[in-house]
Amino acid sequence: MRNAKGVLFVVFLLFGMFVTMQFRTVLLAQQQNTAGESQVQSLTAELEQAKSEGIKLLEKLQKLEKEKDEIMRQISNDGNPVINELLDKKYELQVINGLTDVRGSGVIITLNDAPARNEMDPEQLIIHDMDIVKILNVLRAAGAQAIAINDERIITTSRHFCAGPTILINQNRYPVPYVIKAIGDPDELYNAVEQNEAVIIMKIYDIQVDIRKESEIIIPKYKTYKNIENMISGLEVVEK
């Protein structure tokens, strides 16, 4: 009998300890959550501020670049044919490099994740980086002359990706939907994308793929955060 009382005593002791522990964990977790939450909030606010500052700086930069071009034009109008020729060449090279806004006809492809379904692996419902790599490749093969994803101009060295819930293009992160614009022959681009294996597979998985021909698309220029000099810093010209 005394034995049973002893057991009971120990069990209640443990019980009490557990209740206290549970209570404390819950309390702690709540504290942690609010701490994490406020950190997320302050970081988000800071990020938004940095982004809007970036937009302002970019606008200022573009204004200054335009001003510089205008002054150069004036100088060349004063009658220096060499400057004139060099300016024309510069403009052409800027178009080739995706450093000017351009307009033309082509296609707009909108991609969105498939609606969630319980029985499916969520991995199969989202758009992967290779899906986008393949679509860009198809567009290039079909003669696209300018391509942008969510208005980020794709240039030779454009880093894209880490798709998943978001996409990282030219250092900027975007959520779905992904809007790919391409200027070229609309029919050729449309047919190439429509018949592409990767696109057909995406459609089978219910990923939303919308392809539209457009007679007028504007594709913005590549946002050069760096100097051109920094973009080619590792390259030494070899004269042939």
């Binding site: 964990t25 060099l86 090279l93 178009v95 290039r140 200027i183």
Partner: protein, 231 residues
């Protein structure tokens, strides 16, 4: 009496068990929540740092431009200096466009099929994409320069790049800022594993003297006749 005591003991032990289980689960949920929270904080910090770095670069370029403009306005620059500056700018733009043969430090990635099947274009695209993610500055597949409009298509047992037939093995050359080079090697490790699965042997070599030829400039690869500049 004895029955009552035993019953009480059973009930208490049962409750104890339930409480232990609950405690365990709530701790587990809390940890996974904390991990998720931490991930979000990390992502935000990375984004913030990138954005701040971008802004710094922008400010630097604005300062430079303002100096240039000042010099142009006050006529400090002679016409000769203006011509020199323009020539330099144009050369940089030509390098960026792939119109110059270039040399630099980088890596060479060679892909070779270990069975009789042809290497798929997707595998080459995957390698190119990973290399771009590591900030490469010039790229080529079997010395065909990869530019913004270059395609990589498999046709039977060979590959078409820039409209030209390439035969295996495929040698991908990349020149990068040496500081970023280590990055690209790390990134490549994942791709190598993926390619092994497709029976492709991957050889990665660092090289300090990689030469990448200019893009063929015959009007077939660099095309912009359909682009109207917008002001």
């Amino acid at each position: 009496m004895k029955f009552f005591k035993e019953a009480a003991l059973t009930v208490v032990c049962l409750l104890l068990g339930i409480v232990i289980a609950m405690q365990y689960r709530s701790v587990k949920v809390n940890t996974s929540l904390a991990v998720y929270e931490q991930q979000r904080v990390n992502d935000l910090i990375i984004d913030l740092l990138r954005e701040q770095e971008n802004n710094q670069q922008l400010q630097k370029r604005i300062d430079e431009l303002q100096r240039d403009l000042e010099n142009l306005r006050t006529g400090t620059n002679t016409e000769n200096e203006t011509i020199q500056a323009l020539r330099k700018e144009n050369e940089q733009l030509e390098i960026l466009a792939g119109l110059k043969t270039v040399k630099g430090k980088g890596i060479i990635v060679t892909l070779e099929s270990t069975d009789k099947t042809a290497i798929d274009d997707n595998n080459i695209l995957a390698v190119l994409n990973e290399l771009r993610a590591a900030d490469v500055q010039a790229l080529a597949v079997n010395d065909e320069r990869i530019i913004a409009t270059s395609e990589v298509r498999r046709a039977g047992s060979y590959m078409i790049v820039n409209g030209r037939k390439l035969l295996p093995p495929y040698v991908i050359k990349a020149i990068a800022d040496p500081e970023k080079l280590e990055n690209s090697l790390t990134v490549m490790a994942g791709v190598v594993d993926m390619l092994k699965y497709y029976n492709i042997k991957v050889d990665i070599k660092k090289d300090d003297n990689i030469i990448i030829p200019a893009v063929r400039d015959d009007g077939t690869i660099i095309r912009y006749d359909l682009l109207t500049p917008v002001d």
